[in-house]
Symmetry: C2
């Protein structure tokens, strides 16, 4: 974020208000109506060295750019249908990689039943920059960030923190003993969470009628809870000990024994799990959906009056600022 960037976004949001399709630029995507159908459009940009490691392979960056956009569709409850791909390749791109890039795109499109329908490829002057536009259709009602209600349970899918832990691991000094506590398999699993997030498309599509608000965890658990809180004009009370962790994360956390470090990695983002709020009465529905989708879904808090995220640990408030943690 550079000085003035926030102001720019605010100004853009201001005049986009005239178009209901924009959702005031406050959500994960835009919704356009087309006869009786509604389409969700999302567009997120990924740059090597910023949203991916500088030395990540082009395939890894392209895959991630596609997956994070599909995750944004999931966060609106939409079924992914199409992508357009804007590839701005670094000048020194190894031409031998490009066949593998095409294959990566094909594989991810196939996996999520998405068609590549357009875009452009250029060779640029900076690091590889990939802009994906993903289009999904709404089968039922969209679930916005702004829909949380007082008394809602707060739920999250999967486990949190692994992707940020992987980033720390990938950037760690080779002499560091910090990750000695993890087996090779554990490290691999954690690293896969960073490179190949799993957009929770099925879950997103199934939450219509059950959840009141929904977001994907990209900025970080606490920051994204903050987005629900601010757009819903309510508070999210999160219980730290309920946040689902992988065995690897739990083990690393015990090993480093540093609460602040643990908390910053936990809120580090890039999880691409779904964070949602749902009325208490829908608990059974959420739980049976978890069973149906064979996906862990964990209740981690409640929605209350207020306008912030309150994280408690053993009943003690550990973070009560209004924006939540941000990791950059």
């Amino acid at each position: 974020m550079i000085s003035g960037e926030f102001e720019l976004i605010k100004q853009l949001a201001e005049f986009s208000k005239e178009s209901p399709e924009s959702l005031e630029l406050q959500d994960d995507g835009a919704i356009i109506s087309c006869s009786n159908n509604r389409l969700v459009l999302v567009k997120d940009l990924v740059q090597a060295g910023v949203h991916a490691l500088e030395n990540d392979s082009l395939c890894d960056v392209v895959r991630k750019a596609i997956l994070v956009n599909l995750s944004d569709l999931a966060a609106m409850g939409a079924r992914p249908k199409f992508i357009l791909l804007g590839l701005c390749l670094a000048k020194n791109t190894d031409p031998d990689q490009l066949a593998a890039v095409a294959e990566t795109i094909r594989i991810e499109c196939d996996k999520y039943s998405v068609s590549l329908i357009g875009g452009d490829t250029v060779v640029g002057l900076g690091p590889t920059t990939i802009s994906v536009t993903a289009i999904g259709e709404l089968v039922l009602e969209p679930i916005l960030r702004s829909g949380a209600k007082i008394g809602d349970d707060v739920w999250v899918s999967g486990v949190i923190g692994d992707a940020a832990l992987a980033l720390r691991l990938l950037q760690s000094d080779t002499n560091s003993h910090e990750f000695n506590c993890l087996s090779f398999e554990q490290r691999s699993t954690v690293i896969a969470r960073y490179y190949s997030p799993v957009p929770r498309v099925e879950l997103g599509m199934n939450l219509s009628g059950i959840a009141n608000s929904l977001i994907d965890v990209s900025d970080g658990l606490f920051a994204d809870a903050g987005h629900i809180a601010s757009t819903s004009k309510l508070s999210l009370q999160l219980d730290l000990s309920s946040v689902p962790l992988s065995p690897a994360f739990a083990q690393w956390s015990m090993h480093v024994d540093n609460f602040d470090l643990m908390l910053s990695v936990l809120g580090g983002g890039d999880d691409y799990e779904l964070l949602f709020t749902a009325p208490m009465d829908n608990r059974e529905q959420v739980e049976s959906m978890a069973t149906k989708l064979a996906l862990k879904i964990t209740k981690i808090g409640n929605v209350t009056t207020g306008n912030k995220v309150v994280v408690t640990n053993d009943g003690v408030v550990i973070n009560a600022d209004s924006t939540g943690f941000t990791h950059f």
Copy 2:
């Protein structure tokens, strides 16, 4: 273009064939159906230093990124409706520019009755890179590149060559006498054609039922004629002396008196005029539309059998390669 890039695009086009929406990645955009409506989606990326001059102001780059995408919609005969904007800002972006950037976006959106509905803003590591996704609706039938028929007239709107001439002027040595022949007003007009191309939206929307094939002149007149030729599997015979020039271009051309140079600037691209083919029987309709839109539309050639662009000058063939000129 780096080695392998063409192969990548070919591979992507290959598997996108399965989706009719992609038009095999051969046209200016994609078409998706939505109940009874059809939407056209285009996505073109602009990078400072590549598609714009390194020292161009951020406003100029943003404006151009929007306009070239609206031109792609015009080239499909679609009515622009929405844009999504992916802004990857250079780190050294002057924050004081950003209010003007927001205002530029608002002005261009207003001018073309387009709503900004989404996108993202990030600060990157390279030069400013802007990816625009523009969405239009098809009022009538789309006009593809591939629809040219034998016997069609070839038409082009406006004048050709000014934008490339402006680029040459902007990059010229301050000591050069090449542009002495142009008045300050002429230079300003030519330069405006480079920075503020006018997407021919009204013309594009009105060509349905009249034109058989359509493209916007972005790569260059001869290269884009080549795209119609190759996708239509026919030849375009162009008469050089018919190509409409601005007084400034004609004056500069006489002044430099260098046929090859003139030809390369004429085919230099960035014109964002519409190039189309239409049956001879529709001549009157084209001409009355030109009057209605107060827009110059000039017949510059014919469609014949073959698979290339043939440019003649006073009856002499001056270029008969199959791809047409390319300017980089």
